[in-house]
Every structure is written in C-alpha cells, then in structure tokens.
Amino acid sequence: MNMPFYVAPEQVMKDRADYARKGIARGRSLVGFRFDNGVAICAENTSSTLRKVSEIYDRIAFAGVGKYNEFDQLRIAGVRHADMKGYSFSREDVDARSLANQYAQSLGQIFTHEMKPMEVEILVAEIGHAADGSGDQLFHILYDGTVIDEDMSVVLGGETEAIAERLGTFEQPPTLADGLRQAVVALGGPERALTADALEVAVLERGDHRRTFRRLDDPEITELLA
C-alpha cells in the first residue's frame, strides 16, 4: 500500500503562494491612484480589446493582473454580484467594501481548498460622494484572499516594489495629468518610455453622471502625458 508523504502545511501554503506569485509576476503591472476628482487606474496593456480595467457599477471599478481568464472570471462575478444587489435592494446599497470582502472570501477559499490557487491580484476602487475625495477607496486583494485597504496609490503585478519606489507617495491627491505622468514613469522604469498605445487608462470621475466610469482614449492619454 502506498502511503502519501507527509508535507507540512507551512510548506504547502508556501509552495502555493510561490506558484501564484510567479504567475502574477509574468504579466505586466498596473498602478491605481487617487486624483483630485476621483480615482484613476493605469495599466500597461498593449491589447485594446482584452481589458485589465473595467466598470463594475456606478461608482466602482475593477482591475486585475495575472492570468487573464482568471481575473476576467472574477470581474464578471463582480458585475453580477453588484447588479443583483442593486436589483434586490437599491443602487446606493452597492459598495466596494462588501464586494472586496466577497472577492477575499472566494480567493481565500480557492487558495486553501482547490488544486491550484488563482494567479491574480485585483483592485476594487470606489469613489465616494464627498467632493474632497474623503470617501474614495482602493481595495487591493491578493491571490490568497488578503485584503489591503490602500490610502493614496497602489501597485499590482510583478516588480511592485521597484514600481512603488519610482511612483513615490502622494501627500495630496494630484491632478489627473500629474498623477498619470508619474504612474507612467513608474511603470516604464528608467529604460522605457511608455506611450498611449501601450497603456490602458480608465477613471472613476465625480460629476453629474450616474455611471462615473470612463475609459480614456489614446489621444486623450497622449494629451495628458504631454
């Protein structure tokens, strides 16, 4: 009779985490930050059809790095969760904190119980109603279900430490143009200058519209970076 080898739980978790981290590091990174009129997400993405940044609800956006099919599955689940909650209750009852918790539960469950952890890191961003941006939130959720409530900016993907160092810290939410320039420099590093066609940028912007999510097209990105 074959006896299974004993593997310490610490080792199992470590192996899984390493596996997930390696998968995430293979993809390109993204930066999310608060600016004076909302939240912006800037991703390095050469495809204009396979999106990393998307709309979840009126004031909530989603961004993912890592394995496309896995974070896209999470994105759709988020849209479904938000739309069903808004249908059952009211549009104003849909919030990012509850959605981030749901993501954390699912990712945590998959990390410990499934054969393979999800090779993703996701960002759930929300803008509040206060004009000074005090209600804006950035929830960073890791492959194992860890949730981090980020303050001003967040980096997802590989080489996060180097990118975060180049990005620096914002004392006050910058203007969209300033923040975006800094994010693009941070993503590109010393050797590369990223241009609009290699970037995917979307914002949640305070204004009169119910749906605050908006994608920036290439000419607009170029203009902001100029």
């Binding site: 849209v79 479904r80 969760h81 739309d83 069903m84 249908y87 059952s88 749901q102």
Partner: protein
C-alpha cells in the same frame, strides 16, 4: 449575498434574466385574475422621429378604476445612453419590466464590454413582453414603445409592440395607451419630415393635450401643481429630458393659441 461564480457549463452569460433565474431570484408571476379596480394603470405615450433622432413623451396620470391614483407617474424612461422606453398599461408590472430592461442592457454592456445593437435591444424587450403574456391574459397588459438612436445608421428609430411580444418598427411615429387614438391622430396630422427639436416638442405636447381632452385616463398639463408631461429626446448625444420650465412655456403658448391670441 455571495459571489456568483459559475462552472463553464452553467454560466448564464451576459443575460441578467438568466442570471436571476439561475439564482432563484426571478420575480414570481401573479396567479389568478385581478380586478382592474385593484391596481394602477398608466396611459398615453407617443414617440416621434425628427431631424436629430427621436422623441418620447408621456402624460403623468395613473388611474385605478375610475379614480386618479397618482398625478406624477413617470412613464418615459432612459433604457441606456442611446435609447428610451415609454410604457402604458398595468403600472406595477410595466415599471418592473423597465427596471429589468435597463439592468439587462447595462449588464450586457458591462459583461461583454460593448453595448447591444438597437435591434438587439428591441428584441430583448420583445422577449420580456412575451414573458409577461400569462399576466397579460389576466388583464395586466404592458404595451411599451421603444425608441433609440441607432449609432451604426446615424438615425433615430422606433418600435411598437403588442402583448404577444410582436415587434413592429414604425417609420415616423408611434403611440400607445388609452389616449393613443387621439394623440396618434394629432401627431399624424402635424408630422413633417425633418422637424427640429422645438417643433417636435410642441407637437408632442399638443398630442398629449388633445388626448387628455378626450380620454379621462390621460392627464393634461397641471400648472397649479407644476406637473407637465415627460418629454425626452434621444440623439447622437444621448438621452436628454426636456426641462419642466421649457414645457411650461410651450404649454402656455399652446393655450394662448387655443384662446385665439
């Protein structure tokens, strides 16, 4: 409410109704016939094509049997950025249908990353009306008009429906509800090709004014309470509701003209 994750086989796709059904949350149909005196009815709406797109207008009255049960009912709604829907019939199921329809369009757009075509939207509404047929047989009839700006063709288009979900595209104008005969006649007589926003708004106000004059279930303008019809235009720029101040001024002009001034 947990995160709705599905296996590949069970995935409901971009269809919000299927999503609700798969979670057991679909609204249950009402069994047994109801007396029309027990629920509210909404009445007259018109849609008119004009130079920049299409206009939707509806009066504000809801009736329960022979009583006026609501004076500020909204019967014209945006369906999404470039389309709108106007409803007549049993108010409860109609408003629920609009809510589901709006969600369906937005849900599709978010899941798929692109909006449905105008034809696709009209077809969705058709299926929802068809789904309401068992309730329509018990008297709870919902008959909307759907209108929108077709971005691929660059023009306004409008659709009428019947209770079986039958969908009929109209070239220039459409009307629905108890006052639709009167309102429709006014529109038919006053309609010209390529009207501008001002002219088409005046025509819609006049149509609803005449319908209210002849049909007890259609509400006329109410300057005492400041209640005017809901009028909205849908153009390349999207859905825009015309302000009450503008409508009040136009109504005054119409009344002055009737008085012979």
């Amino acid at each position: 409410m947990n995160l709705p994750l599905f296996s590949v086989q069970d995935d409901p796709g971009p269809d919000f109704n299927r999503l609700l059904a798969s979670r057991g949350d679909a609204p249950s149909p009402i069994d047994g016939a109801l007396d029309p005196h027990d629920y509210r009815h909404g009445t007259t709406c018109v849609a008119i094509r004009f130079a920049d797109g299409v206009l939707l207008a509806g009066d504000r009255r809801a009736t329960t049997g022979n009583l006026i049960s609501h004076r500020t009912l909204e019967k014209v709604f945006p369906a999404d950025r470039h389309s709108g829907v106007a409803i007549a019939g049993a108010a409860g199921p109609a408003i629920e249908m609009v809510k589901l329809f709006q969600l369906q369009l937005e849900h599709y757009e978010k899941v798929e990353g692109t909006a449905l075509s105008l034809e696709g939207k009209a077809n969705q509404l058709s299926q929802m009306i068809r789904g309401n047929l068992p309730m329509a047989m018990q008297g709870m009839v919902v008959v909307p008009i759907f209108a929108g700006f077709d971005l691929s063709r660059g023009e306004g288009r409008l659709y009428e429906f019947d209770i079986t979900g039958g969908r009929y595209e109209e070239a220039d104008h459409a009307s629905t509800g108890s006052g639709s005969v009167h309102a429709g006649t006014v529109v038919k007589l006053g309609y010209r090709q390529g009207m501008d926003t001002a002219a088409v708004t005046d025509l819609a106000i006049e149509a609803l004014f005449e319908a209210a004059d002849e049909d007890s279930a259609t509400g006329g303008p109410d300057p005492i309470r400041g209640i005017y019809p809901i009028v909205a235009t849908i153009t390349a720029g999207g859905y825009t509701r015309i302000s009450d101040d503008d409508l009040a001024a136009r109504t005054q002009t119409l009344i002055a003209r009737r008085q012979g001034n």
